[in-house]
Amino acid sequence: MNYLAFVLRRLITLIPVLFGISLLVFFMIHLVPGDPAVTLLGSHATTSAVAELHKQLGLDHPIWRQYLTFLNHLLHGNLGESYQYKSSVTSLISQNLLPTVWLIVAGVILAVLISVPLAVWAASRRNRLADSAIRTIPLVGLGMPAFWLGIMLILLLSLKAGAFPASGFGTGTLNHVRSIILPGLTVALALVPILVRSLRASLINVLQSDYIVTARSKGLGAPRVVLGHALRNAAISSVTVLGVNIAYLIGSTLVVEKVFALNGVGFLMITAIFNRDFPIVQGVTLLFAIMVVAVNLLTDISHAALDPRVRLS
């Protein structure tokens, strides 16, 4: 199968997923039995507020029609209006998107910068001291709450050492960079245990293949074999590993933004939770899902471009 056909087929599989995502997000307010308007506004809401919300959400129509209206609005980029800010959710999200994008990018870069050397080191010294030490990282790291890790980094690197700002996004690119390092490191460290484990495994796998034996028997030194030959092939599978786990990384930005008071979309959502501002919660949840779907698509497409074998399966 050629590359274009692969991409096309992959795009078609997106349709049911996107449809399902919209359904799930729509039905979120109908999870609790009873009147969704009362659920949203809380039991202390006035009757007039409930009635107004009924009209706004079209709750008097049959459920399938409510969904079609929701879908129609969605396709026009309309995610409803925030109760608290009285402005459209779409504009609120776009105002808050930049810090989140910065955070995700910083998180990915730092995660790769930390994981790759550790994995290479562990795989090339297999079953030795360094390997054993690095293999304990997932044991300890996977049970570490991201928000607590963030608080600890604030304590050690910001309050004690004074190296980085403890919260906010700052103004100007230079301050953005300074402000994003700690939250980025937090997000990255939450991902490192997973990345190190799978990268190490795939490197070990590659190191046992025939062409590595050939390279070794030609008399190439260990650094050349590992960095020049093995890492290149292991990198392909690690792109996939990174892609699969990007959902985890994107998910951890939510609470990390709260810890660092970083005004991204995650922070917007957490604030909305406290204000019972449902349209924002709904909109951001949808946005996160679409980000994950987009990243997975990009991963698959680039994986297929890098490794022709993928297209055949």
Partner: protein, 288 residues
Amino acid sequence: MTVISVPGSATDTVVPTTRRRRKHNVLLIVGLTLFGLLVLAAILAPVLASHDPIQQDLANARLAPGSPGHLLGTDELGRDIYSRLLYGARIDLRVGVLAVVSPFIIGTVLGLVSGWFGGWLDTVIMRIVDVVVAFPFFVLVIALVFALGAGTGSIYVAITMVGWVAYCRIVRGEVLVAKEQEYALAARASGLPTWRILFRHLLPNVVLQAVIYSMSDIVLTILAIVTLGYLGLGVPPPTPDWGSMIQDGQQFLLTQWYLATIPGIAVVITGLALALIADGLVDRFDRR
């Protein structure tokens, strides 16, 4: 289990394997002991606690660890941290372990059915799985708990709605392999009813991977509970929970760093215990 392949020497391939197996049995025992102690501490909290975990004592607020009568100090309301930690374990461990039961059962059954029957049923179930995994785990759990209203009941429902997909995928993958094996074909050929083949013959062979995964799932679930507690969506106060303890302590980071640090260490130790059990199980039972 990975076997180190050294061409031409049979002993070399056997020796490291058994040695590794023994070493990981140690890990399994250490993990089980650690987790057992944590569970014991949670169960015996009323006996072990030195104070009432919600009893305020403003005159003795924010005492440092090691203060007389308060092993780990007191929080901003003068409540004993050691006692709150124990009672927090009661909530967090109980909810963490119980919350994975229904996703385990639902996911395993759907995975069995999906893998065995294939066809349109498989397609439908797998499309639903695709939708759920499109959402970042924490985001969907937080959004669902918000929609359902804070509290443990909502946590159970939300974790179930999100968590079953992992078990479904794992079991389905195992079934696809197992159903081509001879014992499954034999069971089929002997005309046994389908439910009997599925639950008596297939299930015992495919459930191991799900059990191993459930260990890391408990860790993930405890992280979710603690995160919800931190965001104020967990167990309502004043009931102690590790997440809300960290949240309370965060504002005193500069002066009383241990308030936010100690409950986090409790979470990490719990995660370590379960990770050791999972790794131990893989090496003890996984024959691949």
